[in-house]
Amino acid sequence: MLKCRDLTRMIASDETEDFGFLKRMEIRFHLFMCKHCREYTGQIRSIGQGAKKMAAEAEPDQEQLQRLEKDICGKICNNGHGPG
């Protein structure tokens, strides 16, 4: 029988992605039965989604990207071929 401690470890370390059908069913069954593990798993997912949203909101604007792109191209396109 799957223990809560083991389930949290599997969820937080993404071990579950390597699991086959039976192991996945065991996890689903445990989550169905256990309110605390459902809560924990939901929170871990929300944290991941929150990080994604945070990154999306901090996206640089086109102007910044174009300026930086130009700076970088200026450095690498002349690399070894520049004057002097």
Binding site: R5, T8, H36, I47, Q49, L65, E69, I72
Partner: protein, 200 residues
């Protein structure tokens, strides 16, 4: 069209040859295609806007300097992320702000009884409330986890890379990645829970 090359064409030998000869069009396509992701990952790793821009620039410079070493076995993106990761690690090591994070393993142990069931379960809240708590405190909590934990977390959750690519980027084993994700996520979850208990 200058920018009409599909991303998967970037791993091909033709494109690499162009990069090796410093073909300007190819270099521009490379930067144009990957800069947004590299910049986002640098910001996600916790660098301020100026440092993030600087590290992006030096990532591409190093990429071109070391292009002869690139054998094309790994994806161009993996290689760029790898360079970025090493640069950020060096910056962080020199500023010595890492904290010992193994104690999160002990915190997690205290949450369970010896039989493996919850002793101190997560504080319950409905999904919408939890989301707004995450929104409010996640940025601060992320500053409290190590560079490696944060990089693994960001590459997984924000860039949505698969485990294999993250392991190649960070040059770690699958079980190392598991430990980094486990500790990083639990540190974040504990941090959020502590802040919100104090806030209510």
């Amino acid at each position: 069209m200058l920018f009409a090359v599909a991303h998967d064409g970037f791993a091909g030998p033709g494109f690499l040859d162009l990069l090796r000869t410093r073909d300007e069009g190819a270099l521009q396509r490379l930067v144009n295609a990957y800069l947004p992701q590299i910049l986002r990952a640098a910001r996600g790793a916790g660098l301020n806007p100026q440092n993030a821009e600087d590290v992006c620039q030096s990532t591409f410079v190093t990429f071109i300097e070391k292009i002869e070493d690139f054998e094309g076995r790994s994806h161009v993106r993996t290689w760029l992320f790898g360079i970025l990761y090493r640069k950020i690690s060096e910056m962080r090591r020199s500023s010595a702000r890492e904290s010992g994070a193994e104690s999160i393993d002990q915190v997690m142990e205290t949450r369970f009884k010896t039989d493996g069931h919850w002793q101190k379960p997560p504080r319950g809240s409905d999904a919408a409330t939890y989301e707004s708590e995450v929104r409010e405190h996640l940025a601060d909590c992320m500053d409290g986890i190590s560079t490696d934990q944060r990089m693994a977390f960001v590459l997984r959750e924000v860039e949505e890379l698969d485990s294999e690519e993250i392991c190649r980027t960070m040059d770690i084993s699958r079980s190392n990645l598991g430990v980094l994700l486990f500790r990083g996520r639990n540190l974040l979850r504990e941090c959020l829970e502590n802040r919100n208990i104090r806030g209510h």
